[in-house]
Amino acid sequence: MYRYDEFDSAFVKQRVTQFRGQVARRLAGELSEDEFKPLRLMNGLYLQLHAYMLRVAIPYGTLSSRQMRKLAHIARTYDRGYGHFTTRQNIQYNWPKLEDVPEILEELAEVEMHAIQTSGNCIRNVTADHFAGASADEIEDPRIYAEIIRQWSSLHPEFSFLPRKFKIAITGAPNDRAAVRLHDIGLQLCRNDAGAVGFEVIVGGGQGRTPIIGTTIRKFLPKAHLLSYLEAILRVYNQLGRRDNLYKARIKILLQQTGAEAFARQVEEEWVHLKDGALTLPAEEIERIEAYFAPPAFEGLPPSDPAFDVRRFEDRDFARWVRSNVAAHKQSGYAIVSISLKPEGEAPGDASAAQMEAVADLAEAYSFDEVLVSHEQNLVLPHVKLSDLPKVWDKLVAFGLATPNIGLVSDIIACPGLDYCNLANARSIPVAQRISQRFRDLNRQHEIGDLKIKISGCINACGHHHVGHIGILGVDKKGEEFYQITLGGSADENAAIGKIVGPAFSYDDVVDAVDSIVDTYLGLRQDNEKFNDTYARVGITPFKEKLYAAA
């Protein structure tokens, strides 16, 4: 894992001191809320429907057990005993008091964490594959480059007042778990014909009210030029991105209006001036960062473990959990464990302080002290020995963390919705809760198989509904909550935007609608066909006919 050097520590501490001063000026009435707003936003502090909300960055989704314990401590001491893991690998606290926030930031700085650039029109926390460092399909650990980008983008003097927020995601694997085609910039590590490792650069993807799949503007970028190329893209965007309309200000709109080829040309023209300059990454610096992400000291183990096999044979619940929540590891004898934060009837992504501490303990004992946070709002223990899986499972069960539903119908992404957010038109969390209750039969969930449901409470699409196999969007119809359903979306390497199936459903009817869609799928699927494959084969009509038959 990356550890702060003295400069990183100094940087974060200076920012805490600075914000402490700003909060003091606000509390003393020297700053109005209007004047304070841009300052608090630079430090991840939002004013929500009921209270302040603090969004803490978890850079590239990686935590040590010490950091996880600190997050638990903050939840218990300064909030209501829980935190909410978001779709951007951040954690949000929904109830902090303004006067406590400098203290919270101070505590975070002690464990090398912060809330810098988790809001505002700047380069946000860089996200990465949540199986980074563990999956067999990885070319290189993407976090090396995510950390390099974190440094470069921290208080970047030129890019702190962009037309709009700017999100970068990076993956080291061809199977895209980081949704790189749905970010302002997506970076995909790849090899060129000569075998060198570099980046495919994808620009202009995004969700919101104008969902667009990103365009590759450069097939191969050598590592040394990563930052100069990013600076060229950002410089073009900062000068030409629209500033007259909030909803047309993202880079995806600039790319569409300029044309992808013309935009790529502008970037290349700018890059000519920056290439080989002060932003060139020295090979020894890449190696220095790489060393922080070196694989842990894995033991040489056989690919199977008798105790694990016996438990799996004897205990059907354990076996079912293994089937959905345990993934193959690159190292023989190890596995990747996903911890579901989507138990039946709860808010997706919420974790109590006790749960966070339990996960920290497990990471320390069984996963080389490492926890990853997924953009699907779950947690990951990346390096667990097969022989330890029964012990890990037992403890997860004890803490309500063993729901065997990763990737299944109740593993729902949902935004905070009308319960918390002042932009929302409709509630999201209760809809997710009701769907998970409807599908409470876990055997049925496993029979249905992989199915991604994503719910947003408004068109800003924080719940990623556009890319759900089944997407649900809350809309306001004459003061009443309605839900529009889309089908066939995907956030992976086959990224696609879902299509609207027909008229929206009421709050009461939306769960029946989801049930109907699942039934239609089960009736039509051939062999082990995935939902989107069935959908691609049969089209939207059969789903529509069944959904609206009664009407």
Binding site: D5, F7, D8, A10, F11, Q14, R15, T17, Q18, G21, Q22, P38, L39, N121, I148, Q151, W152, S153, S154, L155, H156, P157, E158, F159, S160, F161, L162, L227, R235, N238, Q239, R243, H273, A278, L279, L281, P282, E285, I286, R288, I289
Partner: protein, 179 residues
Amino acid sequence: MPLLKDGQAIDDPWAALPETAPVQDGTTEPALDVDLIVTLDQWRAKREALLQRNGRLGLRLRSDQSPAEIASDLAHFDLIALEFPKFTDGRAYSYARLLRERHGFSGELRAVGNVLRDQLFFMLRCGFDSFEVASHESIAAWHAAISEVTVLYQPAGSGPATGGVLGGPLGRARAVAAE
């Protein structure tokens, strides 16, 4: 409006050419030897007359006017003022760096408009060296604003990175020396 330059509040030696003022053959107002800031439109309309004068010339650009439009004329100006119509309009940060780092502009680079204390840190790093500020906060407060963060992860107009992968061993040595 107070003007900050080199860490001091000073009286502005420059005057703006009023939008309506005639400049004919360099003989009418304003006086020949006044240091004058003109808009891009004024420059384009009265270029020859303005060049006849003895006083220094400054150019004021709106945030939708890129310095690239006038790169070949930059040698005529001792000052360029870049407008921030709102502090959230950050185009001029790029313009400032381009002026300093690409076009080699070494005159005074002034931030005008919605210039706030908490933006000063970014502006300085992009190469601005004077600031027209609305606030009457003490100079000490402004100094605090620019010295609160000393770790710089990126090279920019005002100098090299001092930390991180781009700071390198040299950058780190510089940062230690500066403390």
